[in-house]
């Protein structure tokens, strides 16, 4: 008998049907293959929400660099930020002098106290963040609540964001940071070699209804809140106090404010 292509396809079709029916139960678990089942995921009830998260730091209440040490320790401990000796400074929260913090400030005859004070530095979670614009993989992105977040799974270590950030808020891991973490926080990951990291405004804590670690450690000297809500505490504080932002003339619109 001569089999035509048409006959062959008919037989093949019937066979495939039969195989599919027979294999039914065995494949039950993967019905329709993988579904992302995003309907099973939600933010939970406790999470704190805002239109645009921001921070006001009352630098008058801190007296010198040592006063910031507990805040830095709280942040770095919580997020497994390594302490690497030498020049490979990996940091999320650190301090700087007045002229390093506000180099574009042209105030003459500034109060002596303000000149000599230390200022805490961290990612400003800019409203118009250059780091997001230059990141080729969208590993750095801005969330709807204004937090400039990093997806460290996706970072390829190109360091464009470090060049783009005018505040030096980002650190690069030239080596595996794990050996340099004194006490690992088992609830938070470390990073791998070749990945950039920075302050995340403690998204993992906000998700659980908690304030950022440095805010908690500051005992009221730092206020964290919703800049998008005119009735929020942070907006009242901003309305009543004179504040500075870092390098405002660059147009990045930082969300971190300093009461001087």
């Amino acid at each position: 008998m001569k089999t035509t292509r048409r006959d062959f396809l008919k037989v093949a079709g019937v066979t495939a049907l039969g195989m599919a029916a027979g294999a039914g139960p065995a494949l039950a678990y993967s019905k329709g293959a993988y579904l992302p089942h995003t309907e099973h995921m939600d933010t939970g009830h406790d999470h704190l929400a805002a239109k645009r998260w921001g921070m006001v730091i009352d630098t008058r209440a801190f007296h010198g660099e040592a006063d910031y040490a507990p805040l830095i320790e709280a942040c770095h401990k919580e997020h497994n930020v390594p302490t690497i000796p030498g020049t490979q400074d990996v940091k999320w929260l650190w301090t700087g002098g007045f002229h390093a913090t506000f180099p574009h400030n042209h105030q003459e005859f500034l109060a002596e106290r303000a000149h000599h004070a230390a200022y805490p530095l961290l990612c400003n979670h800019c409203d118009n963040p250059p780091c997001v614009r230059v990141c080729p993989t969208q590993a750095t992105f801005k969330r709807e609540d204004g937090i400039v977040m990093m997806d460290m799974h996706r970072c390829i270590g190109c360091r464009f964001c470090m060049a783009g950030c005018p505040y030096g808020s980002r650190s690069f891991n030239f080596q595996d940071p794990r050996p340099f973490i004194a006490e690992e926080n088992l609830a938070y990951p470390t990073r791998m070699k070749g990945v950039v990291e920075k302050c995340t405004f403690c998204t993992e804590r906000l998700a659980e209804g908690k304030m950022p670690a440095c805010v908690e450690a500051s005992e009221g000297k730092i206020v964290f809140g919703d800049l998008g809500d005119p009735d929020s505490e942070i907006r009242h504080i901003l309305a009543e106090n004179f504040t500075l932002r870092r390098k405002p003339d660059l147009g990045t619109s930082p969300s971190v404010f300093y009461i001087i």
């Binding site: 995003t38 995921m41 939600d42 933010t43 939970g44 938070y188 990951p189 791998m192 998204t203």
Partner: protein
């Protein structure tokens, strides 16, 4: 002439190279599903999805989790039986599966896959 001998010799060498994976593995033991050490029943009563499903899909689940947590700020997962767990490899999965060596690694080694989760995520401390 057409150099028949050289052609045949060349063919033999060619087939030898192309067939390398077959004859290299011939005679060695086939793949055996590794024997996993399951978490103690006292601690882990039920996984978030049925075992078969987890076996086949855990990698996709974790991949969806990481995007959902980091990028969308979702944190809570509704399990097959309606419970709620935090979407966290370190805090949720490894809470029950407290031995990476006896659980994760066994299959991953047998299947010759080397996921880089552990370059960042911290596995539970194992008793030596």
């Amino acid at each position: 002439m057409y150099d028949g001998g050289k052609i045949i010799a060349g063919l033999i060498v060619f087939l030898g190279i192309v067939g390398f994976p077959f004859w290299y593995n011939a005679g060695s033991a086939g793949y055996k599903t590794p024997e996993l050490k399951l978490p103690p029943k006292s601690k882990a009563t039920e996984c978030i999805r049925p075992t078969d499903w987890m076996r086949a899909e855990h990698m996709q689940l974790l991949d969806t989790w990481r995007d959902s947590v980091v990028r969308e700020g979702n944190l809570v997962y509704t399990t097959a039986s309606g419970g709620h767990v935090e979407m966290s490899l370190q805090k949720t999965c490894m809470d029950c599966h407290d031995s990476k060596k006896e659980f994760c690694d066994k299959c991953h080694t047998a299947a010759a896959v080397d996921p880089y989760c552990w370059d960042c995520h911290i596995a539970p401390k194992e008793e030596k």
